[in-house]
Subunit: 235 residues, 2 copies
Amino acid sequence: MSTYKLRTVSVVEAVAEQLSEDIFSGAFRPRDVLTETQLSERFDVPRQTIRSAIVMLLHDGILRRERNKSVYVPLFSEEDIRDLFAVRRLVEMETARILSTRGVLPEGAKSAVRSMELLSDEDSWDELLKYDFQFHQALIEATKSTRLQKFYRSISAEMRLALTYFRSGDFSPSRMAREHREFLDAIRSGDPSAAVEACRVHIEESEAFINQTIHAQRERMDPDRARYLSDNKSL
Amino acid sequence: MSTYKLRTVSVVEAVAEQLSEDIFSGAFRPRDVLTETQLSERFDVPRQTIRSAIVMLLHDGILRRERNKSVYVPLFSEEDIRDLFAVRRLVEMETARILSTRGVLPEGAKSAVRSMELLSDEDSWDELLKYDFQFHQALIEATKSTRLQKFYRSISAEMRLALTYFRSGDFSPSRMAREHREFLDAIRSGDPSAAVEACRVHIEESEAFINQTIHAQRERMDPDRARYLSDNKSL
DNA sequence: ATCAAAATATTGTATAACAATACGACTATT
DNA sequence: AATAGTCGTATTGTTATACAATATTTTGAT
């Protein structure tokens, strides 16, 4: 008889998950303030449960709070974006080094790229984003490094939130697929330094894309607003 | 008039802090299971408060649990130690690169080294460890990278716990001080690659020291026990 | 001794209440 | 009108209690 590892979901986890979705989907916008009683009614669970769920999301970086204040959806500054990408680059380059050294190429990453290649320009940004995350997730998990995974988890939620804010920019599934394919091939090559370099390129392309979207959004604003944001280094 | 940023401590934080100390100090040993009611009585706070404190320590990696089970103090495997050091090396090398590039040399790190140099061989391992952590903490904070700091925090507690387990090995404050001094000088030099390399050496010396202690401990055991541990890759 | 059922212990969730803090509205004073 | 002070309200932080769900131990039957 084989044994199954069943996956159960506690109430707190379910609330945290749904609340995350509400944030990612835009139901809650940056700077929105969420009070515990309000959430308690929304999900029809006791306030204690909400508080536990909030702690999870605080750790994921998609909610913030000061003491004795209500939590709020974070607004990422340019500095936040820089920091996120810098750290992500660090982690992913190390991942690329490990995997190419070990000659490991996770199936999940391969299938994610295949899925991307099947997307057409009419498909949604969300769809593309899903495969993007699946790809990188698979790579990290293949390292088998508990701490690296923990680290990546702690920034991936923030990353996802940042990316959804700037989804509106023009994007091309085919280009995205090609970039991921190249990265994957570099890892497959077995040359660690080449893989690491490909990773750097990949992440920097991603960052450049975001920055471009940010600036495009800013130009669509009126000058005063743009100047204000520029002064406050916020998005 | 200058403004102060006051630091307050909530009940949960105080409990978490004290509980951490109890774990670091060895009052709770690896594999010890801690029930919530037991802790509730020990600290004379309601169970809900204990639960919140536990969540913090779970994130710090100095407590673990499976669902519906009591938490327990982790026992680090050799793989854990390897993983911890690998990731720590990654973060600290990046830190060294950043600081040497920017020409930043935090005061806290300098004073930590000075304190080490004043220690004699009669002083305690705990004392030395304190300055060691102060040194690395200061470096990380000087990067101003929120995510890097968050990450470091998430492994430093585990690191400290691992180090306290193996405190018994022979140690030399003067050698420790010298190693840190050399690392600091390398950062000061302004040559990033030299600083990064010095960092690698520093961390690897630290890891080698731990491994040596581990093996020494193992040899003091009886053969059966040693073989058992070897088989289970646990310490 | 082995297995199953019952009793117990422990975590997870729910409800309520109160204390501490933050925030806004209002008032009094100048 | 502007300012500082006071009060009331909303919100978070903490405590208390109870019960449900799950895990563990004990007991009992075979």
